[in-house]
């Protein structure tokens, strides 16, 4: 190939595809370039410069009309949009008229675009006149919002991603960055490779995949962040490592904060013991913090989702203020968000205790300015109900109509079973969603089909304040409409047509940008005024830009903050009270994300390959606890808390602290029988932010031994058995998409029951061994095509589930014996689980490459491609390298 041709090819590879948009998943906000058929990372996007994680890479696989909500429905009947909108507007109007504006509420989502968010907020606060609009960002970010507002006077993330590359010390606390924010993690990995002197400290009770990168892992006991960072403040003071000049010039409240911190003393031995780490590790951390001017502390849900989440955030910020490390290159506290547009929601005022554009409801000047801008005399005058309170109010009947948009509170709120009961009893539940089935949708009286990613158009803001476009590239399915359009239509029908004249999302963004001028009047940094006069064409051509628009990529570098005094505030953080762990609930349950899934799986749950990494809901426990509570690795565990229970698989994880367990947050009733972690979580809230403590649930664990195990492949619903977990298969039958169910139960089965679980079929394959309770069934149509497959046994029937999945996808004539066996006759060696999802490389293939001499992750990549795309599996590759070579 000539040099020229090569250059051309490289250029082609680098050239963006027809549509540049933003990934629908985490708050990193990566740019994606796609033509609807293929997809790649957008090399021009500042967040990812072309990289994508496995979730982002597979997002096209989650598109398609399957299981999409296609038509508006009222009380189970398909209706026209006119009817549906009239119904929503009519019911809300009637309830507001009869019971006042606080009898209605919106519960919205970080999945909404900024324009959607803006009109929802404007409708509820400005024109209905209640602040009863809250968002699921309450569950993930509201403590960080409080911490930012308390410290800086505004909800501003001072730093940017580049700081992670410039820093000499990166502290990752309460964040499994490797799995939850893979591209941010990859950027840190690359920076550390380039500058091996750079240090990474991970603070997490769990040894997560993120620890792979850590020079130091502080596995503190759950909930010990405040003592840790208070200790840091004291240590810095003891060791004359404070930036006194900065403290004096740019902050207030330091002395009181230091005194509070010092009240726990400076016996590092004792503090280390209290936190469950070694003194050496603790003081090493303190040393490094003192020594590295360029320090970034990344914090996420592990910090936020606690009863003292706000204080934990401020304890971190305190340490940065005390060393003058805020908003400087490579030096800042850095809250990273979980959702694609949690930041956008926070900007427009999507939380019940925000007004709009970083202004406050209870500030009369703010109130007057916004009321004037919106021409909204009814503008709410007091804070609304935060998420948990809101659903309690639904439960008590105080709120009589709730409109839920693009989120799934029946799975994601604490005491989730109560939320379901509340919704079932509620007068009017409206749900706008893009999918047709979900645990919250099941409670809806009115269902409104919304556009999904790839169809909708608008802005999102990522964790570093970068505003990017989500652009449509596939047509809307059925009658689905943009959320802003739906809200606007309802607003008009409620009598607010003058205030909601929007024809295009661009109109809304321009109005919102203009409103940020009001924020500027009050000294806020949020500034999009440069976009207030944006033309539709400019909007269409929008390139990713950070706010303040046309400003510095960092905020507060000059030491001038958004507080009235211009000084940053130290916040005294009391150590949390010591809570005795009772015998009834001796294990502390943590919850969080896994690498290949997202939220309640409404999107990732559509792509079979995203289950290759972890296919079933589980609780990870330390081997000691597995033994102590007589559980079985790979077996089943029933977890019970004060408010609920769950039944999941047991995984052994030496990375867990003894006495703790971890459950993924993703599984819903759509994917497993009883694995909703939030059904276990009591509604205990941070008093300042109202954010629930998802990371600290006392539970009991007990072994559950099913009498039978099984696999079921069918396009139908799962049978009513004690345990099932679903994985979609990339095969479609007339009856719908094929699903793979792992089953287990302890009730006796009859052959008739097995028959009832399977569809009508022209031909049957059957294997019966009643003495051992082993049964296999395959249902075929008249042409011999596989329709369903079932195997039940005292132990899990042996089969190759991936091969079986392929049997549904191909029309080929497959040998009957092989179908029943669930594996090809000349079964090759079992290659183990998929490690690299991108290239579908399995464990034994990788081990083979290692045995052939690969001695590094790079060499493995060369040998079998594993880890060469998104890199999410690199920690696991390293683990395999270690096991294979030891």
């Amino acid at each position: 190939m000539s040099v020229e041709a090569k250059t051309q090819e490289t250029e082609q590879m680098n050239a963006p595809l027809s549509t540049c948009t933003t990934c629908p998943y985490c708050g990193v906000g990566c740019g994606i370039s796609t033509d609807g058929v293929t997809l790649k990372g957008d090399r021009q996007h500042p967040a990812n410069a072309g990289r994508l994680c496995v979730k982002g890479s597979s997002v096209l696989e989650t598109l398609g009309d399957q299981d999409r909500l296609l038509n508006p429905e009222v009380d189970g009947e398909v209706v026209s949009w006119d009817q549906a909108l009239d119904e929503v507007a009519g019911r809300f109007r009637r309830i507001v008229d009869e019971h006042g504006p606080d009898a209605v509420a919106f519960y919205v989502s970080g999945q909404l675009l900024t324009e959607d968010y803006y009109v929802a907020n404007k409708l509820m606060k400005g024109h209905i006149g209640s602040a009863n609009i809250d968002t699921n960002s309450r569950l993930c970010m509201s403590s960080a919002v409080v911490a930012h507002k308390r410290a800086f006077g505004e909800d501003v993330v001072p730093g940017c991603y580049e700081d992670l590359e410039l820093a000499d010390l990166v502290i990752l606390t309460g964040s499994n960055t490797a799995w939850a924010h893979p591209i941010v993690y990859q950027r840190i990995v690359a920076a550390k490779q380039a500058r091996p002197d750079m240090k990474v400290v991970v603070i997490d009770p769990r040894r997560t995949a993120t620890c792979d990168l850590a020079d130091l892992h502080l596995a503190i006991r759950p909930g010990q962040d405040v003592p840790l960072f208070n200790g840091l403040l004291t240590w810095l003071d003891d060791n004359k490592a404070l930036d006194q000049a900065y403290i004096d010039a740019h902050t207030e409240g330091f002395q009181a904060t230091l005194e509070t911190a010092r009240s726990q003393g400076n016996d590092w031995e004792a503090l280390a013991a209290k936190m469950g780490v070694s003194k050496v590790d603790l003081t090493t951390f303190y040393h490094w913090f003192a020594a590295c001017e360029r320090t970034v502390t990344v914090f996420s849900q592990g910090v936020n989702q606690a009863r003292n989440g706000s204080d934990q955030g401020n304890a971190i910020i305190n340490a940065h203020l005390a060393t003058g490390r805020v908003g400087k290159p490579g030096a800042s506290p850095f809250s990273i968000t979980g959702q694609p547009n949690a930041m956008g929601g926070r900007e427009v005022g999507g939380l019940a205790n925000q007004l709009a554009v970083h202004l406050d409801i209870d500030n009369p000047a703010h109130h007057a300015a916004v009321a004037d801008f919106w021409q909204a005399p009814a503008l709410a005058t007091k804070n609304g109900l935060t998420a948990v309170e809101l659903f309690e109010a639904v439960s008590s009947g105080e709120v009589k109509a709730v409109w839920i948009m693009a989120t799934n509170p029946v799975d994601s709120l604490p005491e989730a079973d109560k939320v379901r009961q509340a919704l079932m009893a509620c007068d009017t539940v409206v749900v706008s969603d893009c999918v047709a089935s979900g645990d919250t949708l099941a409670c809806a009286d009115i269902r409104l089909p919304a556009l999904g990613w790839g169809e909708k158009s608008g802005m999102v803001t990522n964790s570093e304040r970068c505003v990017s476009r989500q652009r449509p590239f596939v047509p809307a399915p059925g009658q689905a409409k943009a959320d802003w359009w739906i809200i606007t239509e309802v607003a008009q029908r409620m009598g607010f047509a003058d205030a909601f004249p929007y024809q295009h999302e661009h109109d809304i963004f321009a109005e919102y940008s203009a409103l940020t001028a009001v924020a500027g009047q009050f000294g806020k940094r949020l500034d999009l005024t440069g976009a207030a006069d944006l033309s539709a064409d400019q909007y269409a051509q929008w390139q990713p830009q950070q706010w303040p628009l046309n400003g510095d990529p960092r905020c507060y570098a000059d030491g001038q903050f958004s507080t009235p005094s211009g000084r940053a505030r130290f916040v005294s953080c009391e150590n949390p009270p010591v809570r005795q762990i009772g015998d009834a609930f001796p294990i502390i349950l943590n919850s969080g994300r896994i690498r290949d899934q997202w939220h309640t799986m409404t999107r990732t749950g559509r792509a079979g390959r995203l289950f290759a990494h972890l296919s079933e809901p589980f609780a990870a426990l330390h081997p000691q606890d597995i033994e102590r509570y007589r559980l079985q690795e790979g077996g089943f565990v029933r977890l019970t808390s004060r408010v609920g229970d769950a039944l999941v698989r047991v995984t052994r994880d030496t990375g867990q602290r003894p006495g703790t367990a971890f459950m993924p947050m993703h599984w819903t009733d759509q994917f497993s029988r009883r694995a909703r972690v939030d059904a276990l979580v009591p509604a205990r809230l941070d008093p300042h932010s109202g954010q629930p403590a998802f990371k600290h649930t006392p539970v009991n664990v007990s072994d559950w031994q099913p009498r039978w195990h099984g696999w079921l492949f069918t396009a139908a619903s799962p049978p009513a058995v004690e345990y099932w977990a679903r994985v979609p298969v990339d095969a479609f039958l007339q009856a719908g998409q094929v699903q793979r169910y792992r089953l287990a139960g302890d009730a006796d089965l009859t052959e008739q029951q097995l028959h009832d679980w399977l569809p009508q079929a022209a031909q049957w394959l059957a294997l019966n061994d009643p003495a051992t309770g082993h049964y296999r069934r395959a249902a075929l149509d008249k042409d011999g095509r596989l329709l369903a497959w079932l195997a039940i046994g005292e132990t899990l029937p042996v089969c190759d589930v991936d091969w079986l999945a392929d049997c549904f996808a191909v029309e080929a004539d497959i040998q009957h014996m092989a179908i029943l066996a669930g594996q090809p006759a000349d079964a090759g060696p079992d290659l183990g689980p998929v490690i690299c999802s991108c290239f579908q490389v399995r464990q034994k293939t990788i081990e083979g490459v290692v045995e052939e001499g690969a001695d590094s992750v790079e060499a493995i990549g060369k040998g079998c491609q594993a880890g060469t795309n998104c890199g999410s599996c690199i920690p696991e590759l390293r683990g395999l390298l270690e096991t294979c070579t030891s």
Binding site: T651, Q763, W764, A766, D769, P770, G793, M817, D826
Partner: protein
Amino acid sequence: MKRLVVVGNGMAACRLLEELTRLAPDLYQITVVGDEPFAGYNRVMLSPLLGGGTDEKTITTHPHQWYRDRNIRLITGTPVVAIHRRRRQVETAAGHLLDYDRLLLATGAAPRQLPVEGVTLDGVVSFRDLYDVRRLLSLPAARVVVVGGGFLGLEAADALVKQGHDVTLVHSRGHLLNQQLDESAGHRLQQDLEARGLKFVMQARTQSIEGTCLEESREEGGRGRVAAVHLADGQRLPADYVVQAVGIVPRAELAASAGLTVNQGVRVDDTLQTFDPAIYAIGECVEHRERTFGLVAPLYEQASVCASHLAELGHRRYLYADSATRLKISGIDLVSCGDFLGNRDKGKDQGETLQLNLPGSYRRVQIRDNRVVGMVLYGDVSDAPFFEKLWKEKADISALRETLLLGEAFCKRPGDSDENSEEIAA
């Protein structure tokens, strides 16, 4: 040279002659007397012959030339009527007097007669030999009732359907081939054969066979012709022909008349010797350790053992070995072995039943104490050797049990099977 006379020219006799002439080609001057007018043929192939799937030439295993090549004198078409043991001489109906030093009886078996009125009518036939087949092949299109749902009856019925006859098979039991098949396989066979045009009346006892103009024929000295079969439940099945296929009885009259010990058949010891040390017997005519025979596998084994004794190399003993029965009916393969219902051993429990049902194929394996005690394979019998081996070796199958019925390709032998590992996590 010693003289060997072989009475009977069926499959057992032919196999013995093969073995003997190989072991001791010059030991005997051999004379074979067969009452059928044919050289040696494969009786197993009579059904395909009747069904039109082959011809007489093809099924002739031992043509006249074969005997000539070995200096064997073959006398056909005449039965032996007497054995003069004292003179060591046999006498044929045609008047031959043949001296012997050793005599082998391989007289085979005769079709069992239905114990009902009318069996002697014209049109009541059996299905035993080439003569019967020729007769059946010459029938004009007719209504035929086959009595007996065993192997022979099914083969005859199936072949007759193929010849274009309207055939009804009457069987006294609930399912076909009840000696070889369990109920499921028997019902499957019935369905498959029904699909090919054969009709069945099950659990039916034949009461009598009705003849036409019985009285007149008698007066004229004739026997009358078949008109119908009457069943015990009162049903009347009109018939132009009736094929009796209700089993066989050893032909032991000749031996009995010669004073040899005969019970159900000619009694032989483990060397296949009869009461008279100069006289041996093999095949369907014998009774060995209270057992009589009808399948070809034990006959061949007897021929082999007996040949070794006649060849004066005798040290082998015949011991009945239960072996699998392999049948093919109308292209459907069947294999059956052992205690497939688990009810043969009165002192033991029934054990456990494993069943596999596929379109066109069925398998049943009966397990007791983790060992295969019997099986039935229907349709796909490719794994018969695998199961038979497990059965004969009494191998412990607990490690194979989950996929046992799916056959060898899906059964790793214990030791090389991985632990059934299932991982939810990579």
